[in-house]
């Protein structure tokens, strides 16, 4: 039987409105922190997988910046918001095949500029719109916010999901963030705050949308035998899956209604030998409140269309029966693409969550969602080598 892989190091840089450093510098910092956390030397790293960030500020040159000379695996990985899960899977397969023994996976981004607005951070400004693909853009559909708004509105129409139910996701996550010292947003939030926050792209209010953050996160993946000798408690990678729904953009498309979680989730759970009822902690990709809500449905934590009622029940919040996005998620802690849910999953699986630590933390689900629901990844992590 193939040896399991495990995450033995986690490095999180200063996060949020941290200025004067490039994405490449955050990436290097994160790898150094992760190696130190794993109790290994930089030259022990023989695999480096790089997620270049939303701004594409990190490249293969990171290996040179870090002085890595023993690499037998070096690559950029790109599947947008689903990248992190794919990287951990790829690193796991690399250590299982013997391609590498100690693989660092890193994401870093530095979109925030001092004095600039968060909204401007990812804005591309006015462009010339050309060709068929330019029609939507010329009509004003130029932001990720607006495209997810189309998905969220479709969910509302089909299932009766309400803005207040999206708000319940945001409120629950803010309650978790209040216990996360790294969270950018810790002030208490009410449903009224959510409803009164300005409209970004109807039906999405400001408090439905993720943050924008500068920073970097890295993890170190190794084999089970090496993990058993590591400094920190190992977090085993029991299962992974990725799917890319390929919405047809024609009649019958499930866009906005069913996401890749419905397919990548069962793949990862089957590999891990667990079922949805075995999952103790959920760290779900939450670029928007809607994304977390629809993912809960598609993973099977409730019936299809019942995500809104589930959020309103309080189950996701501290003290609830289905603790979800326990660090505050991308909505309230920090936006590091899939490394936001991945980092919090490792913290929870290790039992390092402090005030927000979930008592039962045997099996943790991590999701990633990329593009406009185009790409999906799932990971099952555990402090145990077998489920």
């Amino acid at each position: 039987m193939t040896e399991k892989s495990a995450i033995i190091g986690l490095g999180i840089t200063e996060m949020g409105k941290v200025y004067g450093r490039t994405a490449a510098e955050f990436a290097a910092d994160a790898v150094v922190l992760a190696a130190a956390d794993a109790g290994c030397e930089l030259h022990d790293i023989d695999g480096l997988l790089i997620s270049a960030g939303v701004q594409q500020g990190v490249g293969l040159g990171l290996a040179r910046d870090l002085g890595l000379r023993n690499l037998t695996l070096l690559s950029e990985v790109q599947a947008f918001g689903s990248t992190a899960g794919g990287m951990v899977a790829q690193a796991s397969m690399a250590v299982q095949s013997g391609l590498a023994t100690t693989v660092a996976c890193v994401f870093a981004d530095a979109p925030l500029v001092q004095g600039g607005s968060a909204g401007a951070a990812y804005g591309a400004g006015r462009r010339t719109f050309t060709g068929f693909g330019g029609i939507a853009a010329a009509s004003g559909l130029t932001s990720t916010n607006a495209m997810y708004a189309l998905a969220a509105r479709r969910h509302m129409q089909k299932y009766g999901t309400t803005s207040e139910q999206f708000g319940a996701v945001a409120v629950a996550q803010r309650a978790w963030a209040a216990m996360n010292p790294r969270a950018q947003m810790q002030a208490p939030m009410t449903i009224e705050d959510h409803q009164n926050s300005r409209m970004i792209a109807d039906p999405l209010h400001l408090l439905d949308c993720c943050l924008v953050s500068n920073g970097g996160v890295a993890v170190i993946v190794t084999s089970q035998s090496r993990a058993e000798a590591s400094a920190k408690p190992a977090v085993y990678v029991l299962g992974w899956g990725q799917t890319h729904p390929g919405y047809t953009r024609t009649s019958g498309s499930e866009f906005g209604l069913i996401t890749g979680a419905a397919t990548s989730g069962p793949m990862a759970m089957k590999m891990a030998g667990v079922s949805v009822g075995d999952i103790d902690v959920r760290e779900l990709y939450d670029c928007y409140t809607y994304t977390a809500l629809v993912s809960l449905e598609d993973y099977g934590f409730c019936e299809k269309g019942e995500g809104g009622a589930l959020a309103q029940s309080g189950a996701l919040a501290p003290g609830g029966s289905l603790p979800t996005n326990t660090g505050g998620g991308q909505l309230s802690s920090y936006y590091m693409w899939g490394y936001t849910p991945l980092s919090e999953a490792i913290i929870q699986a290790r039992g390092e969550g402090g005030e927000r630590q979930v008592a039962k933390n045997d099996v943790v689900l991590v999701s990633g969602n990329g593009g406009i629901l185009d790409h999906h990844s799932s990971l099952i992590l555990s402090k145990h080598a077998a489920a």
């Binding site: 050309t130 060709g131 068929f132 330019g134 004003g140 607006a146 009649s251």
Partner: protein
Amino acid sequence: MTLAALARDDASAQFLDAAAQGVLLYQRCSACGHAQLPIGGSVRTRCRNCGRNEAAWTPASGAATLVSWTSSPVRTADGTEPGPVIGLLELAEGPWLETQLRGLAGAPGELDEGAPFHVGFEQPEGSEPIPVFIAG
């Protein structure tokens, strides 16, 4: 309710020439019959159902139904004002596209999935004609 200017490229020339005549085109695969619209500009006639290079431009009826919609406030000197309502529409022939909606009686919140629309064309200064969809 301004549309930005749209420029043509080789892949969109036939579509935009028809638009100038008030005709909305979509693509139908002559091999498998699949109906589609291109997603970007780089793939012109490849059928996304059967993979053959036989998706041919065909006149559409111009009738569509609303799948979803959104609207973002627009910044002005004094604050913000309501922005255009952008619809995700399903042509009667099946393909989806996104563009601005016209002729809405009430607020965007009063719209419904499945509401009927029909195509019109507008041509901003210095732009190719752009399809919009009119309620009813």
